[in-house]
Symmetry: C2
Subunit: 344 residues, 2 copies
């Protein structure tokens, strides 16, 4: 068994521990954020953590009605002209907490007097030191290069912060079901088999998802790229239809994230266009009928829409690892990548 499979399997425990241990820290963040009355949120992150930031972008918008800007680190590190963050709640997300670009934005925002939050698996890191508040993912060391448990832990941290900020006690209780939902999804581990077989020979693909699962599309595509070498590009179905659909066809398959909820019809619309152009689809959904004919279908457990990204990413993780193994690649040390990347 590979390390990355071990770490995927740890996810229910990691999320459960996080929600217990960080409750007080998250309450303190909520109190500070409510006192500051932010008018918008700024996130800063790279790679997998940036996909967790995309979930934050959706969830702060949906539940707290706050617009969310993804930071432009080059303004800090290369141009020396950091934006003014007046009115912003600033959240850095980084497993290692060391990448200078991410640390730079958090540090500057703290200096400007913002409420700043570091979500990290390294509470002694420079990013944690730069922030006023820290959520410690407590995921134990993540040894596989491809981040999995720190991603779902980051999603859980984001979810906990947002519902605490808006004071939504119903959703706070609902969040306690996340470890169980994750365990349920992991129980379906073998169901990705047909999708993996269908993907042997892929060199490029699109991954589509929207709303809550726009982040899931990005994270699934990144795992597929890192672990299998397939050039998988993520899109919202709307963005996909504004141009990239040009590529749809027999040699450009589409992996579609279609959990129940407000965006499923939209994903199905894009799938129909892909099929009309002769493209092949793999469907990840809690509703088998989204797949047509012999298209591989990967089942999702039924989850509340706002929490669905925590479970909807698991098939993507298992698909990427399964395809890497099927192709004879090393899923723990893919393509000479390093665990910690320092960029400016």
């Amino acid at each position: 068994m590979s390390t990355v499979r071990d770490e995927i399997a740890e996810q229910p425990d990691v999320v459960g521990r996080l929600l217990d241990r960080e409750a007080a820290a998250i309450d303190a963040i909520a109190e500070a954020a409510r006192a500051a009355e932010p008018t918008f949120v700024v996130t800063v992150a790279r790679g997998t953590s940036d996909n967790a930031a995309r979930y934050a972008q959706f969830l702060f918008g949906w539940l707290a009605r706050l617009p969310v800007a993804l930071a432009t680190p080059s303004l800090h590190t290369l141009y020396g002209t950091p934006p003014r963050y007046r009115g912003a709640l600033v959240i850095g997300i980084s497993q290692s907490g060391v990448s200078p670009d991410v640390v730079g934005v958090v540090d500057e925002a703290t200096r400007q007097g913002c409420v700043t939050v570091a979500i990290t698996n390294a509470p002694d890191s420079p990013m944690a030191a730069a922030a006023r508040h820290v959520v410690d993912l407590g995921a134990a060391p993540e040894r596989a290069v491809a981040a999995t448990k720190t991603y779902t832990a980051s999603l859980a941290a984001v979810a906990a912060v947002v519902v605490a900020v808006v004071g939504d006690d119903d959703r706070r209780r609902e969040l306690a079901s996340a470890p169980g939902l994750l365990a349920g999804q992991l129980g379906l581990v073998d169901e990705v088999g047909p999708a993996v077989e269908a993907a042997v020979g892929w060199t490029r693909a699109a991954v589509i998802g929207r709303g809550a699962n726009y982040a899931t599309a990005f994270e699934t595509a990144l795992k597929v790229k890192e672990l299998t070498g397939v050039a998988a590009e993520p899109y919202s179905p709307a963005d996909f239809l504004h141009g990239p659909v040009a590529l749809a066809g027999p040699d450009y398959p589409v992996l579609a994230l279609a959990p129940s909820g407000a965006t499923r019809a939209n994903v199905v619309e894009a799938l129909d266009e892909v099929r009309a152009r002769g493209g092949r689809a793999v469907v990840v959904s809690d509703d088998r009928s989204v797949a047509v004919g012999d298209e591989p279908w990967v089942p999702l457990v039924v989850a509340p829409e706002w929490l669905s990204p925590l479970v909807a990413v698991v098939p993507g993780q298992l698909f990427a690892v399964g395809l890497a193994e099927r192709l004879g690649l090393d899923a723990d040390q893919p393509f000479g990548l390093t665990k910690v990347t320092r960029t400016t």
Copy 2:
């Protein structure tokens, strides 16, 4: 000669006309924006226009020190929970001005009392009607499916709005040089030939650029996808190094945008990593030495960094059209795409 080549050639005139005719409208926007004292900017757009919005994200950050959020249209159209835009300057960019998702965000922001701006080639469109202020691109009908002149016109509109908002008269004068710079770049039309020849056989690629030219990477990749069917994915070099570099190798070439300025060293760093992994590069730069060995080099005219995106996209446009022609594709009606895409 194809329609898209005609429209590429019109760009200096289109930009020149725009800067003359819309000066008063842009002054009015600047006055309203200064009075409202926005703390951040929200942009909403799809496809090519969303890439112009990426330029706005950079330029408002760099010159006006304002963080910029790209809107989440699904919160308006699918979830029915629009964010509160208090303190925001909201800018919609759309050639046609009809996509319901884009119109919905602008309409809601106007309803909430924000200063709203529509940048569009259709001043009678629903988006223009929804906004308090309109910048009419005045680019004459764009008949080719792939947007070219409306992209550079949108960049010029963004540049004019930003320098008016910050009251930077030096840059305002400098902006008047944009048509001349564009004409100079168009004079180098034949210089993309070696890059086109090198790209025959590509099925996937990365396009990297950062800072001012992060937008250029996205727009170049979109043109390549739409016109040639090559799965070209855009990245900042920093994001590229956080995972996707896994794909670098003989069958995953990289097109690098490396104009002079703060980000060039960063792009070169990523190029070195690509070369170390056996990947091939095509270099777009005003400095030939960025290309090594027999790598194709596409020359850029020397432009002020903040305006460089207006010229740096031209090689991408010509490369995509040239490769489409070389592959026997119809560069005006690629892959059954339609000119106007309506998404929710």
